[in-house]
Symmetry: C2
Subunit: 301 residues, 2 copies
């Protein structure tokens, strides 16, 4: 699982900081999460192949999370894309995009599939044989969802010598990898765990931005491997977090601790702060394994 | 008159090239012309004071000419702007912007005034005591206007010694600068030109992008000082210019020559070409005074 941060600052794009956008490479899927202004340029800068993006997840309709989407869709068209593009985001997104395509008289040749979200409960919005994606309802000024990406359980590791010794026909190896018990050539039931061991651990990633500190997300993200949680402010500016419905670094760390996350990545920083280290220091008082998102940074898990 | 090119490439923003946007500093107005994605970052990079922009002119609703507008409007809001912002552009622009503000529940505190254009004839869209702006109807795939910015005639230069010798009361000096004849202390009519000389020449700037080669704009831009005319293609790719309704460098130069422009600036280059010099070479075969727009370049006239 590889996470590339394209932008991790709040509010507006600046000369050296970009608004929210990140790419999650998981089980051969390349998921784009949020798409602030300039995201297509950051994709180029980070040498990410446009054609591999087939699913885009938009958390909410504040500009710093989606103003780059219409341009990216338009660039896909100019690049003569043919593959379907699936977009998951709040109701209204389709109207915004199609209105602009209509007025520009520039319809895409590829199929644009909008999956508009309105539910206030966590729901499954994508699933195939390798990955499942659920929404994480967040508490922000407008309707907002985080997203939980989970790898499905990996196949169990088969001990071929043990399987041969137990006289299991090769036709059953697939079933064994999937965790089933099988019957051997002598008609005897062989317990799966006697010929297999656990496969590679399946990983999960939770993206939570933008949100007020809200413990109601904890059951949804419980035991997540990697949690990206917004930390727009430091505790010294906590009075700004509440009315704007953002979080502090300490609050992000508290959510990570209570959810038993393994790693916390902080981001969505207000540009009022000179150094990001203060965010880490503050979060570390509550939670050990804290990483700082930075534009262009790549995390591998 | 100072023109800053923020972006001058067609189609999509790239790592080192920006879509169309430019700033015209004329008689203390700072006019923003077109606003492709990333324009706000280019404004910062070129150290242009956001608050000085009070008028934005959008040629047409293709993304490379206006996808940066909604973000700029939003950033003005975050910067707690209070001054009115006037936006001139095709009908539909207001709907695009207000739909996004509505869905983000983020209305501006400052007054946003849309001047939507629908006329296919050249019309005056802005005028004060120093500058007048007319549309230049262009021939593109969607409804498109160029813009002609003209300084009003500058005041005549008063020869104070001559005026004193002619016994003209100082109360009449303003009238003299405005070009009127006046009566002196002896009741005698004094011809204006005997005590004044021509003031500084008034300048004009025509922005023409995007457009097919179309001679019908010539009467509108006749004798213009500086003409920016799109040259998406070179003659060797002329067959691409017609269906996409763009121009070649040679065609831009032909318009400049027939309109008796003093200077031609080329821009809106397709990114298929390695060198911009070819555009200049091609245009120079028809017209002498050719300049190449480049991102970040400043022209002073």
């Amino acid at each position: 699982m590889k996470l590339t941060i394209l932008g991790c600052y709040s509010a507006t794009p600046r000369t050296n900081t970009n608004p929210t956008a990140q790419v999650l490479d998981i089980k051969n899927h390349l998921f784009l999460i949020d798409c602030g202004e300039g995201t297509q340029v950051e994709l180029r800068r980070n040498k990410i192949k446009f054609s591999r993006i087939k699913h885009i997840f938009i958390s909410h309709l504040h500009g710093d999370h989606f103003f780059g989407l219409v341009g990216l869709i338009s660039t896909f068209r100019l690049l003569t894309r043919e593959t379907d593009l699936h977009i998951y985001g709040p109701k209204g997104l389709k109207e915004i995009i199609t209105l602009q395509m209509k007025l520009a008289d520039s319809w895409t040749n590829y199929k644009l599939v909008f999956h508009e979200l309105t539910s206030k409960e966590s729901q499954c919005i994508f699933e195939d044989d390798k990955v499942v994606v659920h929404t994480i309802p967040l508490n922000h000024r407008v309707y907002t969802n985080g997203f939980l990406f989970k790898e499905k359980p990996n196949e169990r590791k088969l001990n071929i010598t043990a399987a041969e010794n137990k006289k299991i026909d090769v036709a059953y190896y697939r079933k064994l990898k999937q965790g089933f018990d099988v019957v051997n050539e002598d008609g005897k039931l062989i317990k799966n765990e006697t010929v297999t061991s656990s496969g590679k651990k399946s990983l999960s990633y939770a993206f939570c931005s933008d949100t007020l500190y809200d413990e109601s997300i904890i059951p949804i993200i419980k035991d997540v491997d990697v949690l990206y949680h917004e930390s727009t402010f430091l505790e010294k500016n906590k009075k700004l977090a509440e009315p704007t419905k953002h979080s502090t670094a300490k609050q992000a760390a508290t959510i990570a601790k209570k959810a038993n996350a393994k790693t916390l990545i902080l981001g969505h920083y207000s540009t009022r702060y000179d150094s990001l280290e203060e965010f880490k220091t503050e979060a570390n008082k509550v939670f050990d394994n804290v990483e700082l998102a930075e534009d262009g940074k790549v995390f591998e898990f």
